[in-house]
Symmetry: none
Subunit: 212 residues, 4 copies
DNA sequence: TATGAATGAGTTTTCATTCAT
DNA sequence: AATGAATGAAAACTCATTCAT
C-alpha cells in the first residue's frame, strides 16, 4: 500500500520539522538564560520556562543540561558565521572589507549580548573551555585570511599576520565587553573605525609606494 | 607579674600569626581551585582538601564560600599591584616604562594563571561582575596614566588616550589568555615587545620633530 | 472547543485537589513527628518519611521546615476550634455548657496528643512562643466568655472571672498532660466533671437565693 | 611518711573542692542559657562563654552536653526543695502552711525563670520527659502531704486529695508561666492568696463545725 | 508527545566533641 | 588543668533527571 507508506513518511517528515522547530525554540531560550545567568546558575526549569514548555519536555529533545549548552554554543557559532558571510560577501577593497567584518561582528555582539556572554564569558569554565578556544581560533583565522588578502592585493604589509589577527580579535572582544558591561559609550560603527585604524597603523608597507 | 602578661600576649601574638598563615593557605588553595573550576563548580570541600584541612575548618576563618571568593580576589588584586609597583619603580623613559609595565603584567599572569582565571574568567559570572569590572577599570587607568606621562614628556601623542589604554589592556588580556589556553607559543617578553610596538605605532607625533 | 477547555480545567482542578491532599498528608505527618520529638529534634527527612514521600517533595509544598511547623500549628488550632464549636452548639444551660466545653477539649487532647504536644509543649521554644501564647489567650477568652454568660444568666458569680478563666485553663492543661504522660488514670469525662465542680465551688452567689 | 600522705590527700581534697566549685559555675551558666534558648538551640560554646571558660574545659567536668543538661536539672530540683524546706519549717497552721508553700514556690519561679523554663518548658522534649515527670510528681506529693496534714488536723476535708494536689500544682504552674510570659500582672503574693482561696473553696468539711 | 510531581544525590553550613599544646 | 583549633557527622535545602499519566 504505497498510499499508506507515503502518508506515513509525510507524517514522519512533518514531525521531524516540528521537532526541529521545537529544538530551535529551546536553544533560543537557553541562549538567553545561559547568557544572563551563567551555566551553573541556570536551572533546567529556567530554560523550560523561557521556552514556554514543561521541564520534562526538555529531556525529549536533549539528553541533559550539558547537551543543551553544547548545542546552544554550536548554533550560536553557526549563526554568527552565516551573518558574517552574508554581510561581507558584496564588499570589495581590503580596507572596506576589514571595516565591514569588524563592524558586523561588533554589531552582532551588541545585538546578541547573550550569545557573546555564552561564548566568551560563560563558556570559560573548565569543561566548556575547548569549545570556546575553537571558536576563538576560527575567528582569528578569519581575520588572518582577510589580512592575507590585503597583503596579496598589495595594499597591506605586516611581518606577523598571525599575531596581528589575534590582536584584532582582542580589540573586538574588548570593545564588545565594554559595551556589554557599560564601561564606555562608543557605538559599533565608531569601534569598527577605530579598530580598523589601529590595524592599518601596523602597515609596514611604505606609503611612498602609493604615490603614482 | 609582667612575665606572665608578656608570655600571654606572646601567645596571643603567636596565635594571631598562625591564624593569618592559615588564612593565607586557604586563600592560596582557593585561588587554585576557583581558577581551575570556576566559582559555582568549586565545592567548599574542594578548597578545604586543597588546603589540607577539614571542611569545617574553613568556616573558622571565613563566613561563607562567597566570603572566601571575595577575599581571594582582593588578595590577588593587592598582590598584582604590589608586583607592578615593585618592578616599575626603578625604570625610566616612557617607552621603557611601558614595556616594563606590560612585561610585568604578562609575566605575572603567566606565573599566576589561577589568579588570572579567578579575576578575569571566573569573576565574570553574574554576581561577581562588579568586582571584575573595577579591576579592569583600574588596570586601564594605570595604562592611561602611563601614556599620559609619555605625552607630558613630549615623547608620545594620541588623540584618544582613553581608548588606547583600553586597547592596550585588550592586547594584554588576549596574550595572557592565549598563553593560558596554549593557543600560541610566544613568551611574555616577546609579547611585551610586540604590544609596545603596537602602541607606539599609534603615535601621531611627527617623528621629524625629533630632528634638530 | 469547550470540551477541551473543560477537560483542561478539570485536570487543573483535580491537580489542585491532589495538591491539597498531599499538603494535608504532610501536615498530619508533621504533627505526629513534631509532637513526638519537638521542633529542633525533628529532621525534615523524618517528616517526609512519616508522610511516605521523599525529602525533596516536602519543599514542593512548603518553603522551609519553619513553614511546615507554622502551617501545622495553624491547622491544629483551626481543627480544635471547629471541634469545640460543633459540640457546644446544641448544649444549653450554664453548668452543662461548661462541662461540655471542658469535656470536648479534654477529649480532643486525648485523641490528638501530638497536637497537644505541638501546641503546648513543643511550641514553647523561644521562636515559637508567641504563637503558643496567642493560642492560650484565645482559650482563656473562651472560658471567660462562657463564665460571663453564666453570670449574665444569674447562675454564677465571681469577682475575678479573668483569673478563674485562667485557672480553668490551667486545670485542663494539667489533666491533659497527665493523661499524655500517663501520670494518672482518669478519663476525660471524669476530668471534666471534676474541673466543673472545682469551678462551681468558686461560686460566690449565695445558694439561698435559689430558694423561693 | 605520713606528712607527705597527708599533704597529698590535702591537695586532693582541695582539688576536689575546686572541681566542685567549677562544676557549680558551669551548672549556673548552663541553667541560664538552657532556660533562655532551650536545649537544642543552646551550643556547648554558649555555656562555656557564660561560665567564662573555654569550650574544651566543659568536657573535663562533663561527658557531654546531655550530661550537663541532666546535672543542671538535678541541681535545680535539689535547690528548689531546699528553698521550700527552709521557708516552710517555721510556719504553723494548715492554711498558713499552704499559703507559704505556694508563695515560696511562686517566688522561686519568679526569681528563677531560667530554672522554671529548664524544668517545665525545655525539658518537655522526648528524651528529657521522664526527668520532668519525676519532678512534677514530687511536687504533687508535697502538696498532697500538706493537704493530708490539714485533714489530719481536722481543718480540711476533701474526698480526693490526690486530684486536689494535682490541681494545686496546675494552678501554680499556670500562674508562674503567665508571669514568665508576661500574660498577667499579679505578683507571687497575690497569686498565692488566690490559689489558697481556690483550694480552700474545695473544703467539704461543714463550716458549721467551725461555729463553736 | 507533553507534563510536572516526585526523587535523591549533592551542596553549604553548623556544632558537639577531640586533642595537641 | 585549661585551651581553642580542628574535625566530620549531620542537617536544611536545591535541582537535574525520571516517569506515571
Amino acid at each position: 500500500m504505497p498510499a499508506v507508506a507515503s502518508s506515513l513518511s509525510a507524517r514522519v517528515r512533518r514531525n521531524e520539522a516540528l521537532s526541529e522547530i521545537r529544538t530551535g525554540e529551546i536553544l533560543t531560550a537557553a541562549t538567553r538564560v545561559f547568557g544572563r545567568k551563567g551555566y551553573e546558575a541556570t536551572r533546567a526549569e529556567d530554560i523550560a520556562a523561557a521556552a514556554g514548555i514543561a521541564k520534562g519536555t526538555l529531556y525529549l529533545y536533549f539528553d541533559s543540561k550539558e547537551a543543551i549548552y553544547s548545542a546552544t554554543v554550536s548554533r550560536a557559532c553557526r549563526e554568527l558565521r552565516a551573518e558574517l558571510e552574508r554581510h561581507t560577501a558584496q564588499v570589495t577593497g581590503f580596507q572596506e572589507k576589514l571595516r565591514t567584518a569588524l563592524q558586523v561582528r561588533l554589531e552582532y555582539w551588541t545585538e546578541n549580548q547573550s550569545i557573546y556572554r555564552l561564548l566568551l564569558t560563560v563558556g570559560r569554565e573548565q569543561k566548556h573551555r575547548r569549545q570556546t578556544a575553537d571558536f576563538l581560533r576560527a575567528a582569528q583565522r578569519d581575520y588572518k585570511t582577510l589580512l592575507q588578502d590585503g597583503v596579496d592585493a598589495g595594499e597591506f604589509a605586516c611581518d606577523d599576520l598571525e599575531q596581528l589577527a589575534w590582536a584584532t580579535l582582542d580589540l573586538v572582544r574588548g570593545a564588545s565587553e565594554r559595551r556589554i558591561d557599560k564601561l564606555g559609550e562608543s557605538d559599533p560603527r565608531q569601534d569598527a573605525l577605530r579598530i580598523t585604524a589601529f590595524v592599518l597603523a601596523q602597515n609596514t608597507r611604505r606609503p611612498s609606494s602609493r604615490k603614482r
